[in-house]
């Protein structure tokens, strides 16, 4: 199982290195979406500071959902997915490997870029730190749930929209506690409670989502 996981992550990263445009697109989308808010809401620094965490989190969620729709599609079309699922006991490893490579390719760049957007919205350094901590714990949840959605909608014609409808409600807790952590820090409270809940959410999703994804993949390829 470990072998399958490592082989798959290495292959996905290599494929991404060959198609750099696909890697840049989610982060470009994120940048555009976040930059639109000051234009629409107006340049009032106090307002921007207040909406910044929510804006960054919602943009991260949408970037994750848009990039996750194709997570299994190519492997399904060319027969690679069948070969992966033929390995005994590998279904969970496949689901986990796909979610991890998705996070490395979209979640991690967002975490790295978040401080820049924090500065753009005039957030204080402690608030930026809590935004990044929240994203570190929360974006893997988005990748894991997104992988589940991609597996459930595999092979459906309007799969992308359906995926967003199914998965976005499941991501709401991550957004609430992620954005809530920043709000807590800004009002001078400790954000540890929020981090703990995000961490618990991550563990819960990391245990259950790959199993559900594996089952969904099996149904999709049957």
């Amino acid at each position: 199982m470990n072998g399958t996981f490592a082989v798959l992550v290495a292959r996905d990263l290599r494929l991404a290195a060959r198609r750099r445009v696909d890697v840049v697109l989610p982060i470009a989308f994120f940048t555009v979406a976040v930059s639109l808010f000051p234009l629409g809401v107006g340049p009032e620094p106090q307002t921007l500071r207040q909406i910044a965490p929510g804006v960054v989190w919602v943009a991260a969620l949408l970037a994750a959902m848009l990039s996750v729709t194709q997570l299994y599609a190519a492997d399904h079309a060319d027969g690679s997915l069948e070969q992966m699922l033929l390995v005994p006991g590998a279904r969970i490893a496949v689901a986990l490997a796909k979610a991890v490579s998705h996070w490395l390719l979209t979640g991690l760049p967002l975490v790295v870029a978040a401080p820049v957007f924090g500065l753009l919205f005039d957030m204080s350094p402690p608030a930026i730190a809590s935004l990044v901590t929240g994203l570190v714990l929360g974006t893997p949840v988005l990748s894991l749930l997104g992988g589940l959605g991609a597996a459930l909608t595999l092979g459906l014609r309007s799969g992308a929209v359906l995926l967003i409808l199914i998965i976005v409600p499941l991501c709401i807790p991550a957004i609430i506690f992620g954005a809530g952590a920043v709000a807590a820090v800004e009002s001078g409270l400790s954000a540890r409670g929020h981090y703990s809940l995000l961490g618990a959410l991550l563990i819960f999703t990391a245990v259950l989502a790959p199993m559900a994804t594996g089952a969904a993949l099996r149904i999709a390829t049957e």
Partner: protein
């Protein structure tokens, strides 16, 4: 009907795979009348049937990708020790953006086979693809892609059972002959092969046993 069934339902002692009264469905439709056959070590079983008769579904069921609608199939050995068959589907499972050698190495590693560069070279050489080793898969023709997918067979050290779905598709005459040689050699070493092919099999030794799929009886 019993006449053209390859091997009767009795299980020979060295059966690698035993199939009893197996039925497959696609949606609500039963694809073929129940089939029973056994695949002995060192034998080749050729599944025949009209288009849409369920040859691919049968192979996928044998590979464990689909569940049978009725009947049973059993691989020899204890469940956890049972040989896991090498299933070569109609799709080649190659990635456009990987090179030939990378694709082959990925598929072999995925199947749990530890291979080094020399094994890859030898396998590609056997299929006549050594010169395209570092070419991207997207630059290959259909026949060349098929050859790369088939190179997995040439890289096998263990005597796993092979399930091959239309392996001769897209190959040229030389390729057909080459593959027939690889399959026959595998069987002579004691490996079992189940394959589908709409072309006559150019394999004489060991003689392929034919399992024909028929329309299911009307309920």
């Amino acid at each position: 009907m019993a006449g053209d069934q390859a091997t009767d339902a009795k299980t020979p002692a060295d059966a690698v795979l035993t199939v009893r009264e197996l039925e497959c469905r696609r949606g609500d439709r039963v694809l073929f009348a129940p089939v029973s056959f056994a695949v002995a070590a060192g034998s080749i079983v050729w599944i025949r049937g009209a288009n849409g008769q369920g040859k691919t579904t049968l192979l996928r069921t044998l590979a464990g990708l689909s569940a049978p609608a009725a009947g049973a199939l059993a691989w020899a050995g204890a469940p956890e020790l049972a040989p896991r068959p090498l299933y070569l589907a109609h799709a080649n499972a190659l990635k456009e953006d990987l090179t030939v050698a990378e694709s082959l190495r990925f598929l072999l590693h995925l199947a749990g086979q530890r291979v080094d560069g020399r094994d890859i070279d030898t396998a590609l050489e056997r299929l006549g693809m050594a010169s395209r080793k570092d070419a991207f898969v997207r630059t290959l023709s259909q026949g060349q892609r098929r050859r790369v997918a088939l190179a997995r067979l040439a890289a096998q050290r263990e005597l796993l059972p092979w399930l091959l779905d239309e392996p001769f598709d897209a190959l040229d005459a030389a390729g057909v002959e080459l593959l027939a040689g690889i399959i026959a050699q595998h069987a002579r070493r004691g490996g079992a092969v189940v394959l589908t092919s709409h072309l006559p099999l150019p394999i004489d030794e060991p003689a392929p046993a034919i399992v024909a799929l028929h329309e299911p009886a009307l309920a």
